[in-house]
Amino acid sequence: MAEKQQRFDVQGYDIVTDAIQNLLNAFPGLEENEEILFSSMKEESGFAWYPISGGVIEDEKRFVTGKVRQTCVYPFFLIYRSGSTSPKRKVGIKELLDSIGRWLEKQPVKIGEDTAVLKEYPSLTEGRSIKAIERQTPAYLDSETENKIEDWVIYITLKYQNEFRRK
């Protein structure tokens, strides 16, 4: 049986990418001056996120009014790179990534003495709207170099809808 060819929401790539970038950096548990970068990491340290493919069109429905609704999935990795070998530091990195993941899922997250909850997802433009963000894995140690530089990773997917009228 022939494999179904993947289709992509190419026009939505920039819109959704900007939204994820802003949302990740709105996490209240980030340190002051700490920033999650887009696809950019130094050799020995860094905190960044990397899209895997952009918005994949998972499902498309066409309604009798001519309206089309696409359900799209935008998978990405969030990566924390550190050279620290301290077990306490490693636990802290894993907890930070898991906390970001839970927060993106709109679950309550303990930050210091406070509890933070993401109340609503940012609105998108051009007929797109975020429906859900879900962790696909817990945070895990993905790789370690000879120099003990470690990449801790969490894999997350953002599901959104794109509605338009086909001309």
């Binding site: 309604f63 009798v64 009014t65």
Partner: protein
């Protein structure tokens, strides 16, 4: 060339006043992948003593199901559908007008249309976690009037119906 499905549009008058001149239309089908007016022709075949089969045509009993119809407070029709369902309304309180428009030529200034007196009856409410679904049935309940709508008014989302034949 065959017409696309969206060339046939159905609207309901959400004022429920049953008055064509003041009707305010909202299109049906934004979440519906398939919707049809079932004509339900009523015919009987009989064989006469000559061995001929004759068909008695008793007309049609048209009806249409709008399913799914998700509760959306931003939709103008929603409060009426909600009230009929939750208050178990019947009779005249379920009557309104339906506008059918068929766009056979997108460049034309006027499109063939019909206004039909109908009765709207919700069938259930609730459903799965996709939303609050209140599917309803629309059945003919009176006069059918032939006319047209202007292409310009269709684009506004609130078509203006005029009785009569389309003249160039």
């Amino acid at each position: 060339m065959k017409l696309e499905r969206e060339a046939l549009a159905h609207y309901l008058d959400y004022s429920f006043k049953c008055e064509t001149s003041t009707a305010t239309w909202e299109i049906l089908g934004d979440d519906i992948e398939e919707m049809a007016v079932e004509l339900n022709p009523d015919t009987e075949t009989k064989k006469n003593i000559l061995g001929q089969t004759k068909t008695q045509d008793n007309g049609y009993e048209p009806s249409m199901d709008a399913d799914p119809y998700y509760a959306d407070p931003e939709k103008k029709l929603y409060p009426k559908i909600r009230d009929i369902a939750l208050n178990r309304l019947k009779g005249d309180k379920c009557k309104t007008l339906m506008l059918e428009v068929i766009v056979e030529d997108t460049d034309a200034e006027k499109h063939l249309a019909y206004v039909q007196e109908v009765m709207v009856k919700p069938q259930s409410y609730g459903g799965d976690n996709a939303g609050i679904n209140i599917p309803f049935n629309v059945s003919e309940d009176g006069t059918r009037t032939k006319g047209y709508v202007t292409a310009e008014s269709v684009k506004t989302g609130n078509p203006v119906f005029t009785e009569g034949e389309i003249t160039e």
